[in-house]
């Protein structure tokens, strides 16, 4: 595969359709950040070990640094930029803000997306399920207390 090779893909990101030519060797993360300027998704390890780049692809949580953009043709992608609705934070985002889940914030987009996936698949997670579900997402600032609290709380919110 030549570094010049490009592939046309059509993806839906945060409910907007994009038709883009992507380099065959570029990851979804590179395309999101560098080509589409959706910089909310973060790059830290770049090797699938930290979760900072987590997005939802067809409803599944994915490390966007590990998948090739070229494979995303036809995919439905949700990134951190897509959670807010009409200027309103999602309940999960609000819980992160209120419960002290955010310090420097660099892990936050990936953490929120991993938690979003968790709550979609397990609407009322136990603490153990939360810790399991977020164990692939590293945070160096918070000690995870606020994050676990926030997800617990957001899980409870969706009860009603």
């Amino acid at each position: 595969m030549n570094e010049m090779t490009t592939v046309p893909i059509a993806v839906t990101i945060n409910q907007t359709r994009y038709d883009v030519e992507v380099k065959a060797h570029h990851t979804l993360l590179e395309v999101l950040r560098e080509q589409l300027h959706l910089t909310g998704t973060k790059r830290s390890c770049g090797e699938g070990e930290c979760g900072a780049c987590t997005v939802l692809v067809n409803g599944e949580a994915v490390n966007s640094c590990l998948v090739l953009a070229a494979e995303m043709d036809g995919a439905e992608i949700l990134t951190i930029e897509g959670l807010e609705r009409n200027g309103e934070l999602s309940p999960l985002q609000q819980a992160f803000l209120d419960r002290g889940a955010v310090q420097c914030g660099f892990c936050t987009p990936g953490m929120v997306m991993a938690a979003e996936y968790l709550l979609r698949t397990t609407p009322h997670p136990t603490e153990a399920e939360i810790r399991e579900g977020l164990s692939g997402n590293l945070c160096r600032c918070t000690g995870y207390e606020g994050i676990v609290e926030a997800v617990k709380h957001a899980g409870r919110e969706t009860d009603s």
Binding site: S44, E47, C50, Q94, G105, V112, S135
Partner: protein, 729 residues
């Protein structure tokens, strides 16, 4: 005192941008027309660079420059916060694994990477100094050329510098019990989730550096010196760092990028991965040998300390780390005789820099373990032992320094009651406690401007870096408290040296105290101007602003300053603003089959003076606690015998995850409003990390009867120690 917003847990200012992905970090900055850089490295610690063939790289489409040491001419520019010892790129010889030999600059990242692969470096690997013993061995090569070390008495050795502190006479001090041990503290990675990313962008005669940094003003000075520009023509834009922990205090690759950008008159950008960031900075490791004397009634009679600190190929801020960490190395105790000899030893490893705690945890492991060992031998409860030795408020314990500035007995009591120190515990469990103390800022220069706009909203300008500690929030609370402006109508501007006034640095848990005071003073300045205007008949802010600016608009500008000058002759150059004091207590269990440690409960108790935002204080404590668990149980950088770093990156270097946190984590604090900061605040960003490794080591000893004198306490280390102890008995 009762306040309106001070002391309440208002939400993080900037938090909304962080949960929506809008927050701009240094890697998110994009400057039009930017070139991309990639570093070329050789896979060993130390090498003589024989030749660099750039032809192949220059033939890659899009490559604009391949820069290396040969492109520079003597005298070489060197930089560093204490000694100017680091060239902008390796000259003739690499000095540590990861030391770049060339920089490839191209139109795209892909081209830069292809170019970097095409650079052909001929090198000859040379023997490297990787351990403390090698650094002390006169037969080993010198890390730094003696000719670059001026008139240092150590110029012909690998000792960078030596410090001697103390008082009393350890030789004649009488003691009923003397114990001597050696402790070792590993190299650790700061591991900020945000890897380094830099852009240098020339525009006419101004050079702008975008970088995630704790000390923008020092960066500005370094770049100005490099390029021969006045400070006014160097602009440093520091987006809020994505975690820093000390690792982002001092320049990394900004100088080489600025040099190249100036040459090409194009912006140049370099983004590192997390793994690459491991080669840019680390924490200083140390080997500490202590002989301690105790009286029968549990008083510390003396400590005689010899500490060797393994620094890297360049000094960075390590001389200050060793100096400050050693100075109060005896801990927060009244001790008749202390003698400390510390040496900073150069090696062919990544140059360490600051890391939360700044030299304290290394000494803490030794001193606080000694206390526990003595307590056991003397049959005194370890908490009681500490209570017998701490100073009372107002009592002197360091001869040249301010007296004890808090009720430290209350801190110990809070920790004890929360861990249940005096309650029965399950037989397989152990409890451990350790105190930690850190000298804070010894000098300061913080300036702040508050602009009260005609509509009653306010803009605050200040040069602190908000790297997650929440400085923006606390400052907004101060302005809100003093001027009655709601938090959401306050905008806090930071991190652009062309906009915000000077600040010395965001380090040493100083910002709430020093910049906080400057912000408070600036708010008072605005208040005074409002009051002056109000004597003309109006009283509410709105009315005064309307009377002043109703016809021709305008604003009130308040200026505030907080300074602490150098004290000549003082060993640290100044008095600490306050003591950052912590008591960490843990309850743990050791799996004797695997050596694994389960932390059931962890308590961090601090003396914070006044918690301006209690939630933020808890977050600092919780974050530091889990980071400390990393130090205690799992983290250490591994260099092989050739000086190659073997575990850079998240795959091979484990930090705590959601599954490694304590069963229960509690953060409590003592508030007597007796700090030098606004409303009696003290700093608290580092305390949670100071004593945690020791508290856990003490708890392991309590649970197993086996004392381990090195961190991290990995399952293998504990298991082997248990086996060995079993064999002996």
């Amino acid at each position: 005192m009762s306040y309106s917003v001070i002391g309440s847990s208002v939400n993080r200012v900037g938090g909304r941008d962080r949960v929506t992905g809008r927050q701009v970090y240094s890697a998110d900055v994009s400057v039009a027309g930017t070139l991309h850089a990639k570093l070329v490295r050789v896979p060993c610690a130390r090498a003589r660079i024989v030749s660099i063939d750039k032809t192949g790289a220059l033939g890659v489409p899009g490559v604009r420059m391949v820069f290396s040491g040969e492109d520079l001419e003597p005298p070489y520019f060197r930089y560093g916060p204490v000694f100017a010892d680091k060239p902008i790129i390796a000259i003739g010889e690499t000095k540590y694994d990861g030391d770049p030999v060339a920089v490839v600059v191209a139109e795209t990242v892909d081209a830069a990477e292809a170019g970097a692969r095409a650079v052909e470096v001929q090198y000859e690997e040379l023997p490297a100094v990787v351990t403390i013993d090698q650094a002390l061995d006169p037969g080993m090569p010198l890390v730094q050329d003696p000719d670059t070390r001026g008139d240092s008495p150590f110029r012909d050795t690998n000792t960078l510098k030596e410090w001697r502190f103390g008082w009393g006479d350890v030789e004649t001090a009488s003691a009923d019990l003397v114990i001597e041990n050696e402790y070792s503290f590993p190299m650790i990675s700061q591991f900020a989730m945000e890897p380094f990313a830099f852009t240098a962008a020339p525009d006419h005669d101004v050079m702008t550096i975008y970088t995630s940094i704790q000390i923008p003003t020092k960066m500005q000075k370094t770049i100005a010196d490099l390029l021969g520009k006045p400070l006014s023509k160097v602009r440093v834009v520091a987006p809020d760092p994505g975690g820093a922990f000390g690792g982002k205090q001092h320049p990394k690759f900004e100088p080489v990028l600025a040099y190249i950008a100036e040459k090409l008159q194009r912006p140049v950008r370099l983004e590192l991965t997390l793994a690459e960031s491991f080669y840019a900075v680390r924490r200083t490791s140390a080997r500490v040998r202590v002989r301690s004397g105790f009286t029968r009634d549990g008083k510390v009679a003396f400590h005689d300390v010899n500490a060797d600190w393994l620094i890297g190929a360049y000094a960075d801020i390590t001389p200050r780390i060793v100096e400050k960490g050693s100075y109060a190395g005896g801990g927060p105790y009244v001790i008749p005789a202390v003698r400390i000899l510390s040496r900073a030893l150069l090696s062919h490893t990544t140059p360490p820099s600051a890391f939360r705690g700044f030299g304290v945890p290394q000494m803490n492991l030794a001193i606080e373990s000694q206390l526990d060992i003595a307590a056991k031998k003397l049959n005194i409860d370890p908490m009681e032992m500490r209570l017998r030795n701490i100073p009372r408020k107002g009592q002197n314990f360091l001869p040249d320094d301010p007296a004890c500035d808090g009720h430290w007995d209350q801190v110990i009591a809070r920790a004890a009651e929360n861990i249940g120190w005096n309650t029965p515990k399950e037989s397989n469990r152990g409890r451990g406690m350790a105190l930690g103390i850190k000298m804070s800022a010894t000098t300061a220069a913080s300036y702040s401007v508050v602009r009260l706009h005609a509509d009653g909203s306010a803009t605050l300008l200040c040069g602190t870096s908000d790297m997650g500690q929440g400085a923006r929030t606390v400052y907004a609370q101060i302005v809100s408290e003093e001027l009655g402006v709601p938090i959401e109508r306050i905008h806090v501007v930071m991190g652009d040296t062309s906009t915000v006034p000077f600040d010395l640095q965001t380090t040493a848990s100083r910002s709430t105290v020093y910049m906080g005071r400057a912000v408070y003073a600036a708010s008072q300045d605005v208040k005074r101007q409002l009051q002056e205007a109000s004597s003309q008949g109006s009283d509410s802010n709105e009315e005064i602003l309307k009377s002043l600016f109703g016809k021709v608009s305008g604003e009130i500008i308040g200026v505030g300053t907080a300074r602490a000058e150098k004290r000549d002759g003082h060993p640290l150059g100044g008095h600490t603003a306050f003591y950052e004091l912590v008591c960490t207590a843990v309850e743990i269990e050791v799996d004797r089959e695997t050596g694994g440690v389960t932390i059931h409960k962890l308590v961090t108790a601090g003396d914070v003076g006044k918690a301006l935002n209690p939630q933020h204080v808890h977050m600092q404590d919780d974050g530091a606690a889990v980071m400390g668990i990393g130090h205690a149980l799992m983290e250490h950088l591994i260099y092989d015998e050739r000086g190659r770093l073997r575990n850079a990156g998240a795959l091979d270097y484990r930090i705590p995850t959601t599954k490694d946190t304590p069963g229960k984590m509690v953060s409590v604090f003592v508030e007597n409003e007796d700090g030098p900061g606004p409303y009696g605040a003290k700093g608290c960003a580092e305390s949670g990390l100071l004593a945690i490794g020791t508290a856990i080591a003490n708890a392991v000893a309590d649970a197993t009867g086996v004392r381990i004198r090195e961190l991290p306490l990995t399952p293998e280390t504990i298991w082997s120690a248990l086996q060995e102890a079993g064999d002996r008995s």
